[in-house]
């Protein structure tokens, strides 16, 4: 065993008062090694000085005589638990509300910056293909056709329009005078419809296959994995 290791073990044993019968080799080494004796001696002296330093910290100081009276008064008083908890809860809630408000403002700003209002002329409501004509009129506003929607009625745009602008278009039909659907034979003069377009940067359109339930076979169990070939790790 090296001197350094013996010294380290000796320090450990001496510090925690664990020198015993098993420590005989260490003690024999200690009698013959001056360096280790110095190390252990220095350690013991340092511990004695450490105790003195710690004792100095608390020397000649005691709690004031009023300490007990203060403790008794505080202990007897009702615990200000509810006020403290309400304040802490309010502070936490305020912080969350601030974060939510900032996020909402940011989102609203984003939408506002990407939104434009376009006045449009709407065809007569008594037209049999009113909605169709209305939709056709929106061709002046280029937008991208949705590749996912299977409904042809909502797909009035030509393919050439795709890719120019990508976004969501919301159209507001003029209100009917009767409060319901447009009455046949009634012409609305100077109808103005606002279209709100939310424009995003153009992105690639993915051709996604429309979900077809017939493709899913729910009765057959999933196919088992192929059996491993001999010698091949599974």
């Amino acid at each position: 065993m090296s001197c350094k290791r013996v010294c380290r073990e000796l320090l450990w044993l001496a510090r925690f008062g664990e020198l015993g019968v098993d420590s005989q080799p260490h003690l024999e080494h200690l009698t013959s090694c001056r360096s280790c004796r110095d190390e252990v001696g220095f350690d013991r002296a340092m511990v004695a000085q450490l105790r003195q330093a710690l004792a100095d910290r608390i020397a000649d100081v005691a709690p004031s005589p009023e300490a007990w009276a203060t403790i008794l008064a505080r202990a007897s008083a009702p615990e200000p638990r509810s006020i403290g908890r309400v304040l802490a809860w309010s502070a936490a809630l305020g912080g969350r509300l601030r974060i939510t408000a900032i996020a909402a403002t940011g989102l609203a700003l984003l939408l506002a910056l990407n939104t434009e209002i376009v006045p449009m002329t709407v065809p007569a409501a008594d037209d049999a293909g009113g909605w169709e004509a209305f939709s056709v009129s929106t061709r002046q506003v280029p937008r991208q056709a949705s590749a996912r929607s299977p409904n042809a009625d909502t797909e009035p745009l030509a393919a050439s329009d795709a890719g120019t602008v990508t976004g969501v278009t919301a159209m507001f039909q003029p209100p009917s005078r009767t409060g319901g659907a447009a009455e046949p034979g009634v012409t609305i003069e100077e109808p103005v419809v606002n279209e709100i377009r939310i424009v995003f940067p153009a992105v690639d359109v993915f051709e996604t296959a429309w979900f077809d339930e017939s493709d899913v076979d729910t009765e057959d169990p999933p196919a088992e994995p192929p059996a491993p070939v001999n010698g091949e790790p599974s």
């Binding site: 450490l50 105790r51 330093a53 100095d56 608390i58 403790i71």
Partner: protein
Amino acid sequence: MTNPPGQPIGQVPVEPRQPDELVIRMQSGDLDAFEEFFNTYQRPVYATALAITRDPFLAEEVLQDCFVKAYRVRERLDPLRSPLPWLQRVTINMCYSRVSRRKALAEPITSLITNLVVDLAARPDQVVESREVLEVLQRGIDALPPKQQTAIILYYLHGYSLAESAEIADCNVGTMKSRLHYALKALRARLPIERRIPVGAPAAVRVQR
């Protein structure tokens, strides 16, 4: 509150004992029992607080908070176990939460006072040297991480056994030994360097050397 060096101050037993009548009476709302409880345990609690904070006012504040808390949660105290480990643990936690808040403000004042004390204590060589070592150790203790600081306060100041110290610090005995070992190692590392440096030198110079 003077304590001879080497003599432990933790005279209140930590080991489990007979059901604590004091705690039982206190749990029933007996204020006399609470006063007796305070008189029994105030010394070790205050010593721990003072050893960590080195500020008598702050230590007393911690003492008050600790006993007020003990009274408020008296129902949860186990009469079969000594309340001292719990009291010490609460004290240690309160001390470190306060010390961390006040450290930034208190540090310049503390170093100023330390330098003044060193200058005033200039006497014959031996005394000065001993004083220097103690000051170095004090600074070394302050610089230790809280867990190591707690370990040396419990083991060397209070004189608790390793098992008792470990119970208070809420760790196992091996961990407590390890903390003590590293604390002493850190203090040893400071001693030879700082003793070569003149005491009056500014703190910044000492660090550079």
